[in-house]
Amino acid sequence: MRLIASLLLLAVPILGVYTFMTAADHDWWFPPAYSTFAPDIDWLFDFIMYMVAFTFIVTEVALAWFVFKYSAKRNDKGVFTHGSHKLEMIWTAIPAVALLVIAFTQMETFAKIKFASGFPTQGRFTREKPIAQVWASQFDWRTRYPGDDGVLGTVDDLEASYEFVVPVNEDIVFELRSRDVIHSWFVPEFRLKQDALPGHTIPVWFNATKEGSYDLVCAELCGWGHYKMSGRVRVVSAQEFDAYQADLKAKWFSNGKE
């Protein structure tokens, strides 16, 4: 009986580890990584996952061994103890060190993506001159590009609903805004997620490495229609981007005859 019980317990970590190891074959793993910093995020994810996996396996095996060894039938008398100071020190110190290691390891990547110091300064789009403002509202996404004056927030801004079109292999800086409640701009392929807060203008940057059309989803429960708050980020070549802008402008100033 105790053998069955401890084997059953062991089945949990074995199944868990097996699922992870074969996940990619079943298409259960992450979507492909298509931004310059996406591989860094994936590396950090793997790093933390291996750390956690190691701990998980060790503790689960220990647990199974304890169930086997200390079954009630064979150990009818309990032992009372006030604990071991040394042991407690160890099991506090090790996780503390582990957390510090994680904190220091991720710092550079986080700073590169989120800190002002990490934002691109060369190239067409910078914090001073973002490509667009992306507006989140219940329950859709709209993109505002600057008009001829090159300044956002003026009467000649162009607007596109649903779609956010950007050129490939170029540093993109945009500003994220919300009209109503907290939303979150999330494109899994870019490994980039940023909350949009009403009243704030939040700069965001990325550099997409592959042309294509990617799902943009809201990753912050923002109301009853949250589930359908979707959009698209379309990554195109530089020429196509210029053509898109020209087309958007022509449509914007259409006289309605289309």
Binding site: K114, G153, V155, S161, T201, K251, W252, F253, G256, K257
Partner: protein, 452 residues
Amino acid sequence: MRIRPCLYALAAAALLGAGCQLDLASEPADPVVHYSLSPTTTALDEAGEPLLPLAEQDHIAGSLTMLFGTPANPRFLRTAEWVDDEFDPNWPTYAADDNGGGEFSEDELAAIKADNERDFRRELALIEAGRYEDVVLPSWMPDLRSKWAAHLASKPADARDAEFQGEAKALLVDFYPTLRDSAELYRQQCLHCHGVEGGGDGPTAPFLNPKPRDYRAGVFKFTSMKDKSTPRREDLYRILDEGVTGTAMPSFRRFSQAELHGLVDYVRLLSMRGMVERDLVNTYLNEEALSMEAVLESFSAVWDKWGKAAEKHTQFDGAVPAPSKESIERGRTLFMDAATGNCFSCHGAEGRGDGASAFTKHPETGETIPAYKDDWGNEILPRNLRQGIFRGGRRPIDIYYRIKNGINGTPMPAAVSTMSDDDIWALVHYVGSLSEAPRVRPSSHSKSNADH
């Protein structure tokens, strides 16, 4: 020992689950569900008697079913005249020049096909690879699904040649939803707000402001039409494509062009149904007989209204002018002039939607309440133009239509006839400038919001 009963329970649960699965597979035949009559048709008078005798109500309901079908199987009646003209109101996709009946130009049809190719690229790749059985079509295409099933059944797996493959591809590339397909998509996406009959009374509606549109009056707010006319296909399509910013009505661009056009067809059917219903009630109240002729006459009158919509389109020829300091200043003058726009009386001198006529005092409590109601009986406030929210679209031409034609169903009036196009463009520029908030450029020292 404890484990045994658990295992039995598990096995029983699994069997039960499989049973449910089987049950679902053999769907019971639905009883036929009809569209309901509108509350104004079934209303009671002061004495608590129905305004319309129940027999007449039944008669109207029956006529409407004959003309428009049922929610599960909507279709327009094809009158004898239309059969002679080879016109089928249920099928708007043939090119506009064929018999003059179709509604799409060749270019538009080509665009719909190109979009289908994108939308079905996964399915088309499966067909290309000969993996027909792996093709799964969305649940909101019941008619396409049955056509697909029939196509698969027409040839056994080992006899499927290039011709079969070509036909399979054509089914998807040439896809244009039937009214039944569109009604299913409407049921999944729109019904919870707009209701089965398009009465704007779905289960989500009580929680929304503004309320979802009631199509049954044939009144739509954001059109390019003068004289409060019914909208063009383009106007409704634009609403579905762009959504109505600042309201609960979202953009449905994630669906294909064919699907959005199909939804326009269906909204139009619901709207016509509502209009005919009103018409028939009025016919009865005018003490005329609800004969077959009267019913058909009302039907074709309503069709005519929609069919001739394009004649009421506000045409602006020439290029849209760009805003300038002078035009914005001129717009301001017009905005504040009681003789021209009189805009400030509703929208307020600063455009904040707080003009003198926007509010009134409640006759009993003395509370300040909105002075206006819209055609659907809901309180309405003039827009705060400083927020930069333009429900009918932010393009200059959209705002031009709003100011020139007014907003149907709301107190927002059409421009007085003495206003020239230049005046209206000046107002467009001024109104657009009210929400200008040129971005303050962060100096290179300022900290990012994301910094802590």
